[in-house]
Symmetry: C2
Subunit: 344 residues, 2 copies
Amino acid sequence: MSETTTLSLDAMGGDYGPEAVVPAALGALERHPELHITLVGQRPRLLEELERQRAGEPERLTIHHCNEVVGMDEPPSQALRYKRDSSMRVALERVRAGEADGCVSAGNTGALMATARYLLKTLPGIDRPAIMSTIPSRGGATHMLDLGANIDCTAEHLFQFAVMGAVATEAIHGVERPRVGLLNIGEEEIKGNEQVKRAAGLLSASEPINYVGYIEGDGIFTGEADIVVCDGFVGNVALKSSEGVAALISEYMRTEFRRTLLTRLAGLVAMPVLKALRRRIDPRQYNGASLLGLRGVALKSHGSADAFAFGRAIDTAVLEVQQGVPGLIEARIEPLLAGAKEGA
Amino acid sequence: MSETTTLSLDAMGGDYGPEAVVPAALGALERHPELHITLVGQRPRLLEELERQRAGEPERLTIHHCNEVVGMDEPPSQALRYKRDSSMRVALERVRAGEADGCVSAGNTGALMATARYLLKTLPGIDRPAIMSTIPSRGGATHMLDLGANIDCTAEHLFQFAVMGAVATEAIHGVERPRVGLLNIGEEEIKGNEQVKRAAGLLSASEPINYVGYIEGDGIFTGEADIVVCDGFVGNVALKSSEGVAALISEYMRTEFRRTLLTRLAGLVAMPVLKALRRRIDPRQYNGASLLGLRGVALKSHGSADAFAFGRAIDTAVLEVQQGVPGLIEARIEPLLAGAKEGA
């Protein structure tokens, strides 16, 4: 690790583009004195936004101009083939070229994953990169992967996800010997599909992995495991369903407090409590999904992230770079895979 | 439909057994003057509970004694093979024998599904029964299936679930031309596994089905579709994740309102609103999952259901019997399957 950490930010991605990324970058530079940031995107738009933030061109911040932007609904293969000068791709290319230690983008997940995989390549021993995110739970936080990069996964893929998740959680979040669970359903006998059952066998046989068994959907939020492993289809549905419920409950709450003059008054009295509650379930706090298994640090910010949320993703990227997460995964995966083969 | 409706209740199933089932039965008899109930279980325990409810042996309620009980963790095959005199099995046998029009059990899902399938058989045109439940959503309610009966599903299975879901939702909940969505993830290109994509083709080609396209996890709760179709693994994880989030938010809310004397006071002021909110997200209201695709009505109540929740499952069973849901599915599925084949 060099003494400085350099991140390249896709400044055009996401629903808000520079409007969110530029202030997030300025905030991050203040929080991390060792951080250097390259904003990748359309220079005039970025200068305009820096102007709006009354920031001029601050130290440790540079602009790398590029013309194109990957659309939020653009198919990954199209982005990969035809958008050679997009802010997303150029931001990732800087990581490949060693000009940046890591990259953050709020652009579309499919394109980001495809481009990152193409440019950075997967680590030796890793067949497929996976997306990991942090989710609030009773114990504090649960880390879950994959969240949408891989639809059909073999037991070996799930095993690799478990290793990547364990290494990253230990390095980024300081959890020692993190407990790894496999997402499954609770019905006896019809319990789990073949991949999940076989992955359970691989994980049980791997001594260095602290495997704690099957976790059901509600277990994601009870803190039974530090890491929950599943295929990308199931993980994506679980994550989005959870967001959907949280949004519905918030809406119900607003409706109930707005029903009459009396309930509005009650809402005023309860306001500080409701605000504290909102802070606890604020998804912006948990923004920043790690693309694990690549030869470089790449973070996906939620498309709808504002400056605060994008800043959280930057903070995680800084940690991953400084802890050297890709290197740690590489160092850990080989002996574990060897061990799993012996154990099988 | 005869003028009376007769249900057989597995009175020993679930975490509370007769303690929940007996008062639920008494309440249902009051709500439905045409209803007859047979409580299936250990007569002494049931008489004791009726005594406790000061109900003696009320009209329209009979007891059918049997000795055994299926354990909540008992493997389905074992229950099926060795528990011939269990309350669950005998309750289902009464439906097969025509002595009851439908059955409700809070026993273990796997055993209930296996026994129901073995005794009642699937309807012609249906390969696999599915579990459907109602979930609160912005529009009021969303109906989702499968929730755990089938792990690996082909496109044809998903198509059959869609038909069963549409028929049942129209009949039970009075939704005309209900909108059917397929649960999927939002990433372009990697969008969906093969089964889901092929099921989308089958549904688009089927004119009588009001297919509205893919629904992501959060869409379950926004009311974009009346029916959300998925395989049992994904459905079960989505449902349980959602329950987990709701429980976590409730816990956060309690914690925040208990933090200081001031927040406790705020909680007192806000109490009526919080109660109204709790009612809206009370999962007991939505208790009672339909086992669809069988030659008979069978409802699965949540294992932890209390008398109120079990009563909700009874109400749904009454509706399914009186609307003749199995017959409606049978009548609808044949032409639809034929149509899907032509359309394919």
